[in-house]
């Protein structure tokens, strides 16, 4: 009996040491895993640093060759001529005009779709329509580019013959169509989060659905709706393939929407796709334009977040 319990004693002791050995391995695991995971999280920060650093270094190099004042106020962009000039205004102009056209399409249609989905549609209809609208957002932009170039441009030209084969109007419209789901979905989220008690209050006072929407729901959801517009603009500014394909590469400083214009993004594609050797001024101009584009979109995104935080109505 005694020897038996002694045996068991030993077994338990073995078990304990075995367990300790295991434990030290698992303790090492517990210590190492967070470090590995942290290094993954670091990649996102390194990406940001990488973007800002590469853009900044090469942009500074560019401004050593082309004065910063000439760059931001120059209306002539002739990177390939004997006497190259690097005014960015034609590109900024093209970017703004295409974004304005896009927002003229996406803004009204997006918000009307949001109103319908949030205020009028039954649950059943919304559950069918919303995913279908989101398909539109999932289509690659290159497909939209093809659509703008081979379908929308000929269509516009058949109505309005003055429009050139490459023009800013058609990609602007198509870009707007691309942005509709984004504005509709974000605005719908904002409007859906307005509590029903407020709507019911308006109905009880005898307001129609329309009056409730415009006088109660939209004011209450305004911060979210404005934020969705700003994000839409930011998306339009950064959009590349549609304008590259359908608007050509004319660097004219013009306000005529029937003509070809180049956006900042399209310029980057043109220069990077060409044979700009490293070290040439035109190569550095790539970074200066990209930096401008980056700052533009970053400001828009920060503004959107500020608006939706600052002016949010809490219920």
């Amino acid at each position: 009996m005694a020897s038996n319990s002694h045996n068991e004693d030993v077994r338990v002791r073995d078990l304990i040491t075995e367990k300790r050995a295991k434990k030290s391995i698992s303790q090492i695991f517990e210590k190492i895993i967070p470090i590995i995971l942290f290094s993954f999280a670091l990649i996102t920060i390194l990406t940001t640093i990488g973007i800002i650093y590469t853009l900044l270094v090469e942009t500074i190099e560019f401004f050593k060759r082309v004065p910063i004042w000439d760059f931001f106020t120059g209306t002539v962009l002739r990177p390939l001529s004997q006497d190259p000039q690097f005014g960015v205004l034609p590109l900024i102009n093209g970017t703004i005009i295409s974004s304005v056209i896009a927002m003229l399409v996406a803004g009204p249609i997006g918000i009307m779709a949001a109103i319908y989905l949030s205020e009028y549609a039954s649950d059943k209809i919304r559950r069918v329509l919303k995913p279908m609208l989101e398909v539109l957002a999932g289509i690659p932009t290159i497909v939209y580019g093809f659509f703008a170039f081979t379908f929308v441009t000929p269509l516009i030209r058949s109505i309005w013959p003055d429009v050139e084969a490459t023009n800013i109007l058609s990609p602007g419209i198509v870009m707007g169509i691309m942005i509709i789901p984004m504005i509709a979905s974000l605005s719908e989220d904002a409007m859906s989060s307005v509590p029903n008690s407020i709507r019911d209050g308006a109905y009880a006072l005898g307001a129609t659905r329309l009056e409730t929407t415009f006088k109660v729901v939209i004011p209450a959801a305004l911060s979210g709706i404005i934020a969705s517009f700003i994000l839409g603009i930011s998306r339009a500014i950064g959009e590349t393939m549609i304008v590259t394909i359908a608007s050509g590469s004319s660097k004219n400083f013009t306000f005529d929407i029937t003509e070809s214009m180049q956006t900042m993004t399209a310029y980057i594609v043109e220069v990077a796709g060409g044979d700009a050797g490293a070290g040439t001024t035109i190569y550095y101009s790539l970074y200066a334009v990209a930096m401008t584009l980056f700052v533009f979109t970053l400001l828009m995104n920060l503004l959107a977040r500020y608006v939706s935080r600052k002016f949010r109505e809490e219920y």
Partner: protein, 294 residues
């Protein structure tokens, strides 16, 4: 005592209800507008491209002769890109999400990384192209190979999968993790055995959506410099390559010179959209099939 004239009110009432009904249909039309465009786009692409898709087109080499051109090289290029993007985004994305949600304490550092990720999500894809060109292609001297393109696209879609994985982790109910801790499990054991299995469907859905975004991206690849020339089929991640969207891009650009190139572009779009459709259906399937509600 009457303060209101009922007949006037009645008249106004009619107008208000009428307005409401009219605008309701205008709003509906606006919602349908996007769908009409979508339908037009798909019909147009099918109409132009479907007739050009045959065995030769899918398995053939690129050629200047429209009748003989094939997209096998582009299909393989897209495939090898996925081979790079899928594991990189999955591991880094889920790892980052776990770190942010489960290890990092709420505070300045956490909100800094979170803000940084949402800012990255808003950076135009072409800027990632410039990052890839500078870091991977030039600085690391990879050249325009699959690996350089794949890593660039991975950085681009990383925010998507991180956010999706974070949401999936947050959706795991606390009673599961607390039960695990109560049984004496360590933190990593809990993550590995409880949280990851429960959050996996949501993570995979996000990963597939990120992957389908990466497949359709063109702008970063144009910046990295994918040749329009006829090159051998890529057979690994260190080969030069072309991808489906790049092929669509070049054929669309040249369609003003050779009309048939527009058909080739449309046919390639059909292949690309089909691929995206399959990926997205898989994502929806996974979400519906495996996602548990607690």
């Amino acid at each position: 005592m009457k303060l209101m004239d009922p007949s006037k009110m009645q008249a106004r009432m009619h107008r208000r209800i009428y307005q409401n009904n009219i605008l309701k249909y205008i709003f509906l039309l606006a919602t349908l507008f996007g769908l009409v465009v979508l339908a037009t786009l798909i019909i147009r692409v099918l109409n132009d491209g479907l007739g050009w898709i045959d065995f030769n087109f899918l398995t053939g080499r690129l050629s200047n002769d429209a009748e003989r051109a094939g997209i096998m090289g582009a299909i393989l290029g897209t495939f090898w890109l996925m081979v790079v993007v899928a594991p990189v985004t999955l591991i880094v994305g889920i790892g980052t999400a776990i770190f942010l949600e489960l290890y990092l304490k709420k505070g300045k550092a956490q909100s800094f990384i979170q803000t940084n990720i949402s800012n990255l999500a808003g950076v135009p894809s072409i800027v990632y192209g410039i990052l890839g060109l500078t870091i991977f292609v030039r600085l690391m001297d990879m050249g325009n190979i699959v690996l350089a393109g794949g890593l660039t696209l991975s950085l681009l879609v990383l925010p998507i999968i991180i956010v999706a994985a974070q949401e999936a982790i947050r959706a795991v109910p606390s009673f599961l993790t607390e039960a695990s801790y109560g049984m004496g499990a360590t933190k990593w054991q809990t993550i590995k055995n409880i949280i990851l299995p429960a959050a996996l469907p949501g993570m995979l859905t996000g990963a597939i959506l990120a992957l389908s975004r990466a497949i359709g991206e063109t702008a970063p690849l144009t910046v990295i410099g994918i040749p329009a020339l006829i090159i051998p089929f890529p057979s690994g991640i260190t080969d030069k390559f072309t991808a489906l969207p790049m092929q669509i891009y070049y054929w669309t650009l040249d369609s003003s010179l050779v009309a048939e190139y527009a058909n080739l572009a449309a046919a390639t779009i059909v292949v690309l959209l089909l691929l995206l459709f399959i990926l997205n259906s898989t994502a929806i399937f996974i979400r519906n099939k495996f996602q548990q509600r607690y």
